[in-house]
Symmetry: C2
Subunit: 188 residues, 2 copies
């Protein structure tokens, strides 16, 4: 089961630390989803949807040897990873519902973005309130938790040690190298 990126997500967030943990906590952060030219035909009719699902690859999160029990951002106690939305998971697939502001050519302007800049995009699906919206649903441990902070830190990042070493050695910064590798189709 192999995936290929269909585009790149551009956001104001360069590092996990400080990035909003969920779209609703993103305080309206705007960004751009750039779809590679070969997939642009698939964007037809997306205009007219108020929200879309972005499915993406947590490219900077630990996954090969990730823990199955983690301490999520919104709680003090360790929880099973499948009962959290933590990015460090066996298949590092991310899921965010964002507001769709504009479709222009190969670029979608979106709001409520909680994703790191340069994240590889895997899929876009329309948000159907008829199928996706459920109000009175029990939300397990989250209900008892007080939302202590709406921003992430680096607990699930895999490159933090390497990034520090690279800075010390005065080589091109690790984040710079990663960025160029991560964004084959980016204008940046």
């Amino acid at each position: 089961m192999r995936l290929k990126p269909i585009g790149i997500i551009h956001s104001p967030f360069q590092h996990a630390t400080g990035t909003p943990i969920q779209p609703r906590a993103a305080g309206g952060a705007e960004g751009a989803v750039q779809v590679f030219d070969e997939f642009v035909a698939g964007l037809k009719d997306l205009r007219g949807f108020g929200r879309i699902w972005l499915i993406y690859w947590f490219d900077r999160a630990i996954h090969r040897k990730c823990n199955l029990v983690v301490k999520p951002y919104l709680d003090d106690r360790p929880r099973g990873v499948f009962a959290t939305r933590a990015p460090a998971r066996p298949n590092p697939i991310g899921l965010s519902s964002v507001r769709l502001l504009e479709v222009r050519g190969n670029t979608l302007r979106v709001r409520d973005l909680d994703v790191l800049d340069g994240t590889p995009l895997l899929d876009i699906k329309p948000y159907f309130p008829q199928f996706d919206s459920f109000r009175n649903v029990k939300s397990g441990w989250l209900r008892g938790s007080t939302l202590r902070g709406a921003n992430a830190d680096d607990r699930f990042e895999k490159r933090k040690v390497k990034a520090r070493r690279a800075t010390i050695a005065t080589r091109p910064s690790a984040s710079g190298r990663l960025a160029s590798r991560r964004r084959p189709g980016s204008k940046a």
Copy 2:
């Protein structure tokens, strides 16, 4: 970007034809999500959530050479694939919100299942109404469409021709062969 199955979804639906197209249309169909033993620790704390997201691999849908413009089940007109939930997409990742009835050992009993039997499971995430539920959202072409049917047909399936040939040649049926290849950890 490589994925590994973390489990298998068991449902009453053997073929695309007749399978509900979305969980809300599934009429309460029940099934079981079987998580492979090595990932069971990650299920801790899932009990207590009313709904969960299943993220899975559309293993029987066309994807390598899928069309970017498709006629979805719920409309007469061709639409960009990213404006639909059609299974035949560049990265064949499926997303369904199902009701969680019970967690027992490595098995989750779920309701509102719209997934083919034997589908490889990639991820489970808790449904957080705070982050996932949006009511008054424009739903593009779907708004103008009349929900003509709640069940799928075989338009996105890749094996339909082979299955017919195999039957004619009186070899083991293609669906049987697929099933055994698809379910390495299945009890079935």
